[in-house]
Subunit: 178 residues, 2 copies
C-alpha cells in the first residue's frame, strides 16, 4: 500500500495543547486531496488500583463536550519526558496517589483519522497517599470503583471516555484474570 | 462540580472533516483559561463478523500518523443521518459487505480533552457480499481475523487504533462469551 506524499503543508494554528496544519497530499492515482491534521505531543492515562482492589476514577468537566466525565487520571507528556514518568507525575498531581509499581498496559492512537495523538496507558499499583496538586485550571474529584462496577458503567454508557474504556477493558482482560 | 462559562469564542478554521475554535472560559475560581476545541460531526465504526466467525479488519494509510493502520471499518456521520445507517453504509462502501443484523456495542468520546467527536460502535453480523465503493481518496484492503488473533494483535501493539481496540474488546467482553 502506497503512502500519501505531502505536496504542500500549511500551518493554521499553534496552540497550548494542539497545533493544526493542513497537508495537500498526492494519492496513489496521482490526484490531490487535503488532510487536516491536529498535532498533539502525546498523553498518558493511568489505571490506578488501590489496596482494596478498586480503580481510581476521576470526574472532570470537559469543555469540548460540555459535560462532567468519569475518566481515569491522565495528562500530556512534557517535552523529553519519559511517558512512564508522566504517568507517575500525573497520577500524583491529579489524585494524590504515589504508585510503587507501574507497568504498561497498551499504547495506541486516539483518533488517527485527524490527529497524531498517541496514548500510553499504565497500570499503577501499590499506592501510597501523597498530596494532590492539580494544574491551576483543573478541578478534579476522585471515585474509587470495583472493576465489576466500572465494567457495568462502560456497558451502561456512564463511562464514555475512550481512554477510561480502553484502560479498564485491558485491565479486565490481561490482569484481573491472573 | 461547576462547568466552565464561555466568555469568548474564536473560530480559527472551518474544514472538510474538522473545525477549530478557541474558547476563553471562566473557571470556578473566576480566573480565565483557553480551551482549544476540535469540532467533529461524529463517526461510526463497525465490528463486522462473517459466517466463519472472523472479524473484518481493514488496512488504511493514515496521514496524521504516517502509517498504514489495522482498523475496523468506520466513517463520518453525514448531516441528519442515523448513526446505524452510517454504519451499514460505511461497511458496504469500505468492505463490500451488507449486514442483515446490526446492534450497538458502545458509544463514547474519542478525545474529550480537545474534541467533541463521538464514536458509535456497532456489531454487524449475517453478512452478505455486495460491492465495495470506497470514497475516491480512500484505499482500503480487508483482512478477516479470528477474535483470538485480533486480541493477540491488541496485546502485541499491532492493532493500535482506538476504535478497533474498543470494538474488539467490547465484542470479546459482551458477545463472544454468550
Amino acid at each position: 500500500m502506497r503512502d500519501e506524499k505531502t505536496m504542500k503543508s500549511e500551518r493554521i494554528y499553534e496552540g497550548k495543547v494542539i497545533n493544526l496544519r493542513v497537508d495537500t497530499v498526492e494519492l496513489p492515482d496521482r490526484k490531490y486531496s487535503k488532510r487536516e491534521i491536529v498535532e498533539h505531543s502525546g498523553a498518558v492515562a493511568i489505571v490506578a488500583v488501590n489496596q482494596e482492589g478498586k480503580i481510581i476514577l476521576i470526574k472532570q468537566f470537559r469543555k469540548p463536550v460540555e459535560e462532567v466525565l468519569l475518566e481515569i487520571p491522565a495528562g500530556r507528556i512534557e517535552p523529553k519526558e519519559d511517558p512512564q514518568d508522566t504517568a507517575l507525575r500525573e497520577l500524583e498531581e491529579e489524585t494524590g496517589f504515589k504508585a510503587n509499581k507501574i507497568v504498561k498496559l497498551v499504547e495506541y492512537y486516539s483518533t488517527p483519522g485527524f490527529s497524531n495523538e498517541v496514548l500510553h496507558i499504565y497500570l499503577a499499583t501499590e499506592l501510597t497517599t501523597g498530596i494532590a496538586k492539580p494544574d491551576e485550571d483543573e478541578y478534579i474529584e476522585t471515585f474509587p470503583m470495583t472493576l465489576e462496577v466500572a465494567m457495568e458503567k462502560i456497558k451502561s454508557g456512564e463511562i464514555k471516555d475512550s481512554k477510561a474504556i480502553i484502560g479498564i477493558l485491558m485491565y479486565y482482560k490481561y490482569y484481573a484474570s491472573i
